[in-house]
């Protein structure tokens, strides 16, 4: 059984938001909601030392997911392949999982998602369900693609610089496992104990020029 994870190479990410855009169209995400978001991390220094680094954040699909632990009606759960999924029919919209997620991965569907006739946008992807109002949703590692045999998420495919890699963390030959080891990739806030399965390879300092 694969254990899916992702690697994001911060040395390649460039704030472009192609991941966010691709995710929006692939997953029928309503306006104002994000399953993936590129955040900015300022270094707190004044001009001209000021810098900002990009931090793309999907769901971390934690192994010890706080969201799975707290959901009162078991609407959010682990799939056998490690993906944290949501059964929208069970979700009561209590938003406990949103409060519990350290990574801000989850979003609440506040209102009727699409105003178009039939409740769907024209560009909707029929392979991904349209969620009802009042539930919580989040990145699914494009499990619908995986279940159809295509083991690449929309964001990974869309990233122009190739900063995102997806695959089986347990398969030592997989690009994601190999690169994570080679670049000493780290997840965000490991000390929180959620055991996230998205890790980040650091932005590199230039090799002191000749």
């Amino acid at each position: 059984m694969p254990r899916y994870g992702m690697l994001i190479d911060l040395d390649k990410c460039m704030f472009c938001q192609a991941c966010t855009m691709a995710c929006k169209s692939e997953n029928n995400i309503p306006d104002g909601m994000f399953w993936n978001k590129v955040r900015a991390v300022p270094n707190g220094k004044p001009y001209p030392e000021y810098r900002v680094t990009p931090l793309p954040m999907p769901c971390m699909h934690c192994e010890d997911a706080p969201c799975v632990n707290v959901c009162p009606v078991s609407a959010t759960y682990h799939r056998p392949d490690g993906i944290v999924a949501i059964d929208y029919d069970k979700c009561i919209g209590c938003k406990y999982c949103i409060a519990a997620c350290p990574y801000g991965a989850r979003t609440f569907n506040k209102t009727k998602a699409f105003v178009e006739v039939g409740g769907k946008p024209a560009w909707y992807n029929a392979n991904v369900p349209i969620r009802p109002q009042g539930v919580v949703e989040k990145c699914t590692f494009c499990s619908h693609r995986i279940d159809a045999g295509q083991t690449v998420t929309a964001c990974v495919q869309a990233c122009p610089s190739g900063a995102r890699i997806f695959g089986d963390l347990d398969e030592s030959n997989s690009p994601v496992a190999k690169l994570a080891a080679a670049r000493k990739a780290q997840p965000l806030r490991p000390e929180l104990g959620a055991k996230p399965k998205v890790s980040y390879a650091p932005m590199m300092k230039p090799e002191g020029g000749k």
């Binding site: 001009y47 024209a122 029929a126």
Partner: protein, 804 residues
């Protein structure tokens, strides 16, 4: 008491029951259905079985026109991916490519031709559009065009192109425009990057953008651009960013030179803040350093005849003492310009430390092949062509010209051409008339087009009035500096046709709207812009059925010519009768039709042949010229006097006019009265000012500064404190030309002398989401030019601020 209580209870219990009944009824009456619906809250709709297919096309959201593959489910376009067969994009697409889905299904699209019924024209005046048929619309336009032409006034027809597919341009701009005979076919190019092109032309005779062999480059200095945000072709640059940093083994070093911390500056190895408008000084100092340190590329440039001879700061060199190899004019350049342009001098000008300038020069030469890359931020200034020339020349000095890893000259593809039509008398007469934009005159000596100048010509009616105009995919009273002048100009044109999928600011002045489809619905061919040297042809074909009653530019040109009859219809008699036929005709020679449209979606040219100087360096000396004989010839022809040069704000005289040199920025507005410099930039989701109606864009617009739905005025905190402005304050920004109100955002990523505003918002029209969001800095921008190329300046307007 008991009595009261019982009564109270009765009131209480009965009242309760009554009240509940009242409420229940009210609820049922007012909102029974929605309540039940809300409570039921539907289950998630599971994925249904659908028919899926992939269709090849290409993008139009910037001039990169990257090849796309679009997933179609049951006749709906649902996802966009790239095409891995392209050697330029390597299958990558940028964030903007996905916006094609929102554009295709945008509720504010124009659904059919429209006619104005309100004779009054104004930016805020309702045109009171009524729908008309294509037949009626074309008939009306044909009549206007015929009447004008037959009067012998074909030159009073103005044809403006904004964004265009190559096929549309070949058909409408070139074939139709030439046949009609008007000299006034005006491209947007001088709003884009003409100074960039002219700088290169002065060096190698190629009036084009530059291409770069990034796959093999080891070091890049980016002057005035944000390569991973907004430089064509974005997808390639973004793909190469990943490749050169982590995939190929040897990591590239990138240096971004910019007054503002762009996304590129944020992720590059180095961000060098520079005083606005001083990039030329930095380039010249680097050249000086290369020469005095002896680190220029001897193989390409040549060397002193006598060993041991050097370039010494301040000391002239005798031309006899130096033998140039593939270049021409180095010693003149040294003697007239470079010998005194020390790092110290440049440090004073640029605000960059002398040590940094020396280090950059050293790294540039120590990490070959290294490239100096320039664009609008450096060149859209007065005398910007010389800045372009200076920066481009660094590549030659460094041996990075037309070699692996260097600056290249992009190849062209050969496509089927439309037959040239012999001009008739009316056409000959008209095309001999002076052009509205004054290109090639003493005012704009070496310009191919001076887009923004046309507004002033129309306003003044000089040298004649415009009677009929057609503009397509353009919105110049939004996107041009001094945008309000275009509203004034357009109001004067008696008959204006706007060809566009969305009703924008410019459409407010149209008499007829002809709607085009979006890129996912139309036939076209494209040639890739200058990127990696290898020519590429992309195609466009309907990915889904045309959503509305729209026609492509090509189809409009064909139909309009037919409607005009006579000479124009004749000029089109050998033209394929429809856009699909035309596109297929033009691309016939590349490969079989099925292969191109169904299987591959892209034609890739032969591999790049380096150092093909015969073909690539087309100067009088056949060498890379540091002294532009081409410019000398052009200026000599015009016999420019000192007064003429003063009039176009060029301080150089004599040989200096043909050498890369630095004159410093000319400001619009006094430094004392207007202490800040207005800086604008293009964030990655800005699609040439055309994406503001996309909700996906608005909600993620400025990730680097963490802003959405708005474009604040970014000010350095130290400067803001001087003006008493705090983060989030509403401020008035005033230039000598106008005022706008914006929200202030304090940022340490902004040069203390700059006030930065992202471009792309501030629409008053264009759609329900675009309207009223953010501000448009072009409204208060002054009108100025790099007069040699006609390029509009975008960065030399000064402003002042105050809290409101």
């Amino acid at each position: 008491m008991a009595q009261e209580t019982r009564k109270g209870l009765q009131l209480g219990r009965r009242g309760f029951l009554k009240g509940a009944a009242v409420l229940g009824t009210a609820a049922a009456v007012l909102g029974g259905k929605p309540i039940v619906g809300a409570l039921k809250r539907g289950t998630a709709e599971a994925g249904a079985k659908v028919e899926e297919k992939w269709v090849h096309t290409s993008c139009i959201n910037c001039p990169a026109v990257c090849p796309l593959r679009v997933k179609v489910q049951d006749g709906r376009a649902v996802h966009v991916e790239g095409n891995k067969l392209s050697k330029i994009t390597d299958g990558a697409i940028c964030a903007k490519a996905h916006l094609n889905l929102q554009n295709l299904y945008d509720p504010d699209r124009i659904k059919g031709p429209m006619k104005r019924t309100n004779p009054t024209k104004g930016l805020d005046v309702d045109p009171k559009w009524v729908p008309i048929s294509w037949a009626d619309a074309l008939k009306t336009i044909a009549e206007k065009l015929n009447t004008l032409r037959n009067k012998g006034e074909a030159h009073k027809f103005l044809l403006i192109r904004g964004r265009y597919t190559i096929s549309d341009s070949d058909m409408f701009y070139s074939h139709f425009g030439k046949a009609y005979g008007t000299p006034n076919t005006i491209s947007h190019s001088a709003l884009c990057a003409e100074a960039d092109k002219l700088g290169q032309w002065m060096a190698n005779g190629q009036f084009k953008y530059s291409a770069y062999d990034l796959e093999r480059t080891k070091y890049v200095m980016f002057f005035g651009l944000s390569p991973v945000e907004a430089h064509r072709p974005t997808s390639r640059l973004q793909r190469m960013w990943g490749y050169t940093r982590q995939e190929r083994g040897e990591r590239i070093k990138t240096v971004v030179i910019d007054p503002r911390l762009s996304a590129s500056g944020a992720v590059a190895d180095e961000w060098i803040p520079i005083n606005p408008g001083t990039d030329g000084a930095l380039a010249l100092a680097i050249a000086h350093e290369m020469l005095v340190n002896g680190t220029w590329d001897k193989k390409f440039v040549g060397d002193f005849v006598e060993a041991g001879k050097k370039f010494v700061a301040g000391q002239k060199v005798d031309e006899k003492d130096f033998k140039e190899e593939m270049t021409f004019g180095l010693i003149k350049w040294w003697n007239e310009v470079l010998k005194d342009f020390t790092a110290e001098k440049a440090a004073k000008e640029t605000g960059i430390a002398k040590e940094t300038i020396v280090r950059l020069a050293r790294e540039f030469t120590a990490n070959r092949p290294a490239v100096a890359w320039r664009a609008r931020g450096a060149c859209a200034w007065t005398t910007g062509a010389y800045v372009s020339y200076a920066i481009f020349a660094l590549n030659a000095l460094n041996g990075s010209y037309d070699v692996p890893g260097g600056a290249l000259v992009h190849g062209s593809a050969s496509l089927g051409k439309l037959p040239t039509v012999a001009a008739d008398d009316l056409g000959k007469k008209a095309s001999a008339m002076p052009r509205l934009d004054q290109k090639g005159t003493k005012k704009f000596p070496r310009a191919e087009v001076v887009s923004n100048n046309v507004a002033d010509a129309i306003i003044k009616g000089d040298p004649y009035n415009v009677e009929v105009a057609i503009g397509w995919f353009c919105n110049w009273n939004f996107s041009a500096p001094g945008a309000p002048r275009w509203s004034e100009a357009l109001a004067k044109i008696p008959f204006f046709v706007h060809i566009t999928p969305f009703a924008s600011e410019m459409t407010q002045f149209a008499d007829i709207i002809l709607p085009t489809g979006t890129t996912l619905e139309e036939w076209a061919y494209e040639t890739a812009p200058d990127s990696n040297g290898v020519p590429e042809v992309r195609i466009k074909q309907p990915v889904v059925k045309g959503q509305f009653d729209c026609r492509s530019m090509t189809q409009i040109a064909i139909d309009l010519a037919k409607a005009m009859g006579g000479y124009m219809a004749d000029a089109f008699k050998d033209v394929p009768p429809a856009d699909e036929a035309f596109v297929k005709f033009a691309t016939k020679s590349l490969m079989p039709e099925k292969e191109l449209f169904e299987e591959k979606g892209v034609w890739v040219g032969p591999a790049y042949k380096y150092a093909d100087h015969e073909k690539r360096v087309v100067t009088p000396s056949k060498k890379f010229e540091f002294y532009s004989q081409g410019m000398k010839a052009a200026l000599d022809k015009l016999k420019l006097t000192d007064a003429d040069l003063d009039a176009i704000h060029i301080k150089a005289r004599g040989d200096m006019l043909y050498l890369p040199h630095y004159e410093g920025p000319r400001w619009l507005g006094d430094k004392k009265d207007f202490p800040l410099v207005l800086n604008t930039y293009k964030p990655t989701l800005n699609s040439e000012g055309r994406s503001a109606n996309n909700t996906w864009v608005l909600e993620s617009y400025l990730p680097v500064i963490g802003e959405a739905y708005n474009n604040p005025a970014e000010i350095n905190p130290v400067s803001a404190a001087k003006f008493g402005i705090a983060d989030g304050d509403k401020i008035e920004i005033e230039s000598p030309f106008g005022k706008i109100t914006a929200v202030a955002k304090l940022s340490h990523g902004v040069h203390p002398e700059s006030l930065s505003i992202a471009y792309g918002l501030g629409h008053k029209h264009y759609g329900r989401n675009a309207r009223g969001k953010g501000v448009n800095p072009n409204e208060i921008m002054g009108v100025d030019y790099d007069h040699l190329s006609g390029h509009s300046t975008y960065f030399n307007t000064r402003v002042r601020v105050r809290k409101v």
